[in-house]
């Protein structure tokens, strides 16, 4: 890593009169293999490498980046962004300032046993072929004629300095699996994925995160599970209020969409207004009761082998667990140093940039509904009449994070504590307060899935975990597609 150029960028910015400067050399390497209907498509490999510089000049925030790694180019980029910051500063109505944070000097990385860069593309394709073999023949009467299986790895290496004295060198390798399948049953084609909801499996660390998943057995087994939903013809009851149990596949995404996102302080302050949107939460709503006493949601970047793992964020702030909803109250927002300054607190280390040429912005890391003390069977036995939505495919939520929808893939009617016939496309379309307010039980069985969270302009797809146990919603109404 070119540490001299990073230091040089900061010194140039400070000499130009900036009150704050940071620079980040970042190299992101990735390899993705795609097996389509049993045939390997071209493997893709990329190296994105360069320096991003961010400065504050007279309250104006400016960012620049280049991949021409010479002193002359770095000098020019700094000059250009300082010039633009000066031009903007005269018309600012709000000036940017950063919270005071402790400086850190450390070299850090995620734990890894088997380095991903030592895994050859032919062995990745061989594993994909093993998985594909389990999907080639019909499963429980359902065929999968279109199969797109993706498997790959990435390495994110950074060297970061700021004008407060932080010097941080980090490395996070990751590996992930993903698929999109077309199932056909009774002549009807349908898009599905395993895991459902277009989710990924994987994490940070070495290739052992993939080996532990035993994909050649678990993916065909997962495909078998969803055949009940694919074959279902019975519509869900839509005219009655009932109890609904959500599987971890569904509930995990709710923690991300309707707790993590609305709790991002940049959205709350309006900075993402024209793109990712704002939030139904306002800055004076910290501590408000948003849900039932059973609602507990956290975000924790420090979970080993998690997809969203990091030890320091891209503003040099040490990562820690954040309790977002605690007993139904919104107790903490996600902050960077600029929003923390507005709230007159310290940053909780939520600022990340996915590549050298992107500004760091507030991101979730690993958001999850905390485990409860129920078992799934105990939850089920309590339900006289309801629906179990085990997994989903379609989902979305409005840009204030108030009105969300999840459409089931595998789902069952519940009667007198027993699972009955599979249901076709039950729709949970519900407001955020109603959702968190309806939770009356959480199981012990937290599961994590991987995803790519979209936010920012230009768009930044950030690797994250989302997790949850089974949760039960009391007294809600479903729709149908």
């Amino acid at each position: 890593m070119d540490q001299d150029l990073v230091s040089y960028a900061i010194s140039e910015a400070l000499q130009s009169g900036c009150e704050y400067a940071e620079a980040r050399y970042q190299k992101t390497s990735d390899v993705t293999c795609l097996l389509r209907n049993g045939v390997a498509e071209p493997a893709t490999m990329s190296d994105a490498e360069g320096i991003g510089v961010r400065v504050v000049y007279d309250g104006a925030l400016a960012f620049g980046a280049t991949n021409r790694l010479t002193r002359q180019e770095v000098k020019e980029i700094v000059e250009r962004i300082v010039r633009r910051a000066k031009a903007a500063s005269s018309s600012l109505k709000e000036r940017v300032a950063f919270s005071q944070e402790q400086a850190h000097v450390e070299k850090w990385s995620s734990e890894e046993s088997k380095k991903v860069e030592d895994v050859s593309v032919d062995s990745i394709i061989a594993l994909l072929k093993d998985i594909d073999r389990g999907l080639q023949s019909p499963i429980a009467g359902v065929s999968f004629p279109n199969r797109m299986l993706f498997l790959g790895w990435s390495i994110d290496e950074k060297y970061y300095e700021n004008s407060d004295g932080s010097k941080l060198q980090g490395r996070v390798p990751r590996a992930a699996y993903f698929c999109i399948l077309t199932s056909v049953y009774d002549g009807r084609p349908r898009t599905v994925s395993v895991p459902a909801g277009y989710s990924q499996l994987g994490g940070s660390g070495g290739w052992e995160v993939i080996e532990k998943l035993n994909l050649s057995e678990t993916i065909p087994a997962g495909a078998k599970e969803i055949t009940a939903g694919i074959k279902a013809t019975e519509r869900p009851p839509t005219d009655e209020v009932m109890d609904v149990i959500l599987g971890p596949n569904v509930a995990s995404l709710t923690s991300h969409e309707s707790c993590g996102h609305p709790g991002e302080a940049d959205r709350i302050l309006g900075r993402e207004g024209a793109q990712a949107g704002e939030s139904f939460l306002k800055s004076d709503k910290l501590g408000m009761q948003i849900g039932s006493p059973e609602a507990f949601v956290s975000d924790d970047p420090t979970i080993p082998h998690s997809m969203g793992f990091y030890k320091y964020d891209d503003e040099g702030v040490k990562a820690r667990k954040r309790k977002l909803i605690d007993g139904g109250r919104f107790t903490e927002f996600l902050h960077n140093r600029a929003t923390a300054k507005v709230f007159n607190i310290n940053s909780n280390g939520s600022s990340r940039a996915v590549q050298f040429d992107r500004e760091p912005i507030i991101r979730m890391a690993n958001t999850f509904i905390e485990a409860g003390d129920w078992t799934f069977e105990e939850m089920l036995s309590d339900v006289r009449r309801g629906v179990y939505i085990k997994s989903f495919m379609e989902w979305n939520i409005d840009d204030k994070r108030l009105n969300q929808r999840y459409v089931g893939l595998e789902a069952y009617l519940i009667e007198n504590g027993d699972l009955k016939e599979p249901l076709k496309d039950p729709v949970l379309e519900i407001t955020t307060p109603k959702y968190w307010g309806s939770i009356d039980a959480r199981a012990k069985d937290v599961e994590f899935l991987c995803g790519t969270c979209g936010k920012g302009d230009p768009m930044q797809g950030a690797p994250v975990f989302f997790g949850a146990p089974h949760v039960r919603l009391k007294g809600v109404r479903l729709g149908s597609r």
Binding site: M45, S91, K93, V121, D122, T182, R271, D398, R477
Partner: protein, 449 residues
């Protein structure tokens, strides 16, 4: 690492160098695409600039084959040493891959590309801060209390060298302004201005539209679930009718498209026409050549409601016994510039013709339950209004479109003559789109509060 002692090559030099180096290694097919891009941005929220941004990059895309083995890579290291290391690495990986049943040699091309897509050299030095001030002031003057948005400009030089003989370059530029105005927390409006030319750039108009919509959206109501006749603005049409991207032969073959695997099938009302252009003269962006070096072209996708052509690269063309349409993507072909044909209606006529309907001006978060059937939902955002007996009534919010693309294509009732260039967060391909009135659109909403 002492990179400052390595000579950074120009994009043209590095493209030529990468081709020569790959050939020396013994590759059978080589396609090298070099991009030099200068991007600037001003972001704003709460009536104030929040970030100025400038990114200058050279990227190189490398496609190699050896004995029917195929690999694709991209690197941001524009030095001889960086290119050597990167190509050595991917060539080593390439040789370990299985031979591909889908292998097709790169096309022979004798064209020397040299020209401009939609390009204005003045874009690079445009006064972005001044333009943003105009957009904010205009929006505030139209009734907004808070204004957010971004102005993004880009100037691109693209170079290509292939072992099939393709060589050359083109220039392209874009100016994309996205304005979101708030009159109150639940009352917002959206305005866009997307062009390649400084002379066509009108930030005041985008700000005015956003501000006016915001002002008219105060105190929104809700509507009952059910079927409505819905008028969609060009911004929404460009997102919810992804006809061109779904015409990618790769998407169709992979089960990722609602379109049938055969052309000459009726998929929409006869008034619908959709085309792809490599470069649409006077339009937005575009590309002169595709990733295999072939010249891009005009390809009609839908003519009078009939699905006429898929979009192909050389690989998909061979499978479908067709010819490339100059839309490569090495793995998957993709549209360059989407153009919906103009209709003979207007927004005013659509409103007059609607007895019980809704006007939706913007949307986001489109997701599919089933890509093959085209069943999807999306969330309207910003201004939406109930329409009754030919007149706009109260603003509405908290609704969702839950429908299917084939059903909507068959229910298009009116198409506007006026069209607008769209490219923003929810629409990544430059699209010239009209407004449309679509009958019997399913509207749902959240249950409970």
């Amino acid at each position: 690492m002492i990179l400052s002692m390595q000579r950074v090559l120009s994009t043209e030099e590095i493209t030529n160098y990468a081709l020569d180096y790959s050939k020396k290694l013994g590759c059978d097919d080589v396609s090298i695409l070099g991009y030099q891009i200068d991007e600037s941005q001003v972001r704003f929220s709460n009536n104030s600039i929040t970030l100025v941004n400038n990114v200058r990059e050279i990227t190189v895309q490398v496609y190699l084959t050896k004995e029917r083995r195929r690999i694709l890579g991209s690197t941001f290291n524009p030095t001889e040493q960086g290119i050597n290391k990167f190509i050595d690495n991917i060539f080593t990986s390439c040789r370990s891959l299985p031979q591909s049943e889908h292998y097709v040699a790169l096309p022979k091309v004798d064209t020397r590309h040299d020209g401009r897509a939609n390009f204005d050299e003045r874009v690079k030095d445009a006064d972005l801060v001044g333009f943003v001030k105009q957009a904010i002031d205009s929006s505030l003057g139209s009734g907004a209390k808070r204004v957010s948005g971004s102005l993004n400009t880009s100037s691109l030089e693209a170079f290509i060298q292939t072992s099939g003989g393709a060589t050359g370059k083109y220039f392209s530029s874009e100016m994309l302004l996205n304005v979101r105005a708030f009159a109150e927390d639940n009352a917002s409006g959206h305005g866009l201005c997307c062009t390649s030319y400084v002379s066509d750039f009108d930030p005041e108009n985008a700000g005015r539209i956003a501000g006016d919509y915001a002002k008219r959206s105060k105190d929104p109501r809700t509507v009952s679930e059910g079927k409505y006749d819905v008028i969609f603005t060009p911004t929404v049409i460009a997102n919810i009718l992804p006809v061109a991207s779904s015409a990618s032969a790769f998407a169709i073959e992979s089960g990722l498209s609602f379109l049938p695997p055969e052309t000459e099938r009726e998929i929409a009302v006869k008034e619908l026409n959709v085309d792809d252009y490599g470069v649409y003269e006077g339009g937005l962006g575009g590309r002169l050549f595709d990733d295999e070096g072939l010249p891009t072209q005009h390809t009609p996708i839908v003519i009078q409601g009939i699905f006429k052509n898929m979009l192909h690269n050389s690989t998909t063309a061979k499978k479908f016994k067709s010819r490339s349409t100059g839309n490569a993507g090495i793995i998957s072909p993709f549209p360059s510039t989407v153009v919906f044909g103009e209709g003979d209606s207007s927004l005013d006529e659509m409103i007059r013709e609607t007895k019980n309907g809704i006007l939706i001006t913007n949307n986001w978060y489109t997701r599919y339950q089933n890509m093959r059937s085209g069943e999807y939902s999306t969330v309207p955002r910003d201004a939406a209004f109930r329409i009754e007996n030919g007149e706009i009534r109260e603003p509405v919010s908290g609704i969702r479109i839950s429908d299917s693309i084939p059903r909507q294509l068959s229910n298009i009732s009116l198409i506007s003559r006026e069209r607008q260039w769209i490219k923003w967060w929810e629409v990544s391909t430059p699209t010239l789109a009209p407004a449309m009135l679509i009958k019997d659109v399913q509207i749902t909403k959240a249950v409970g509060s």
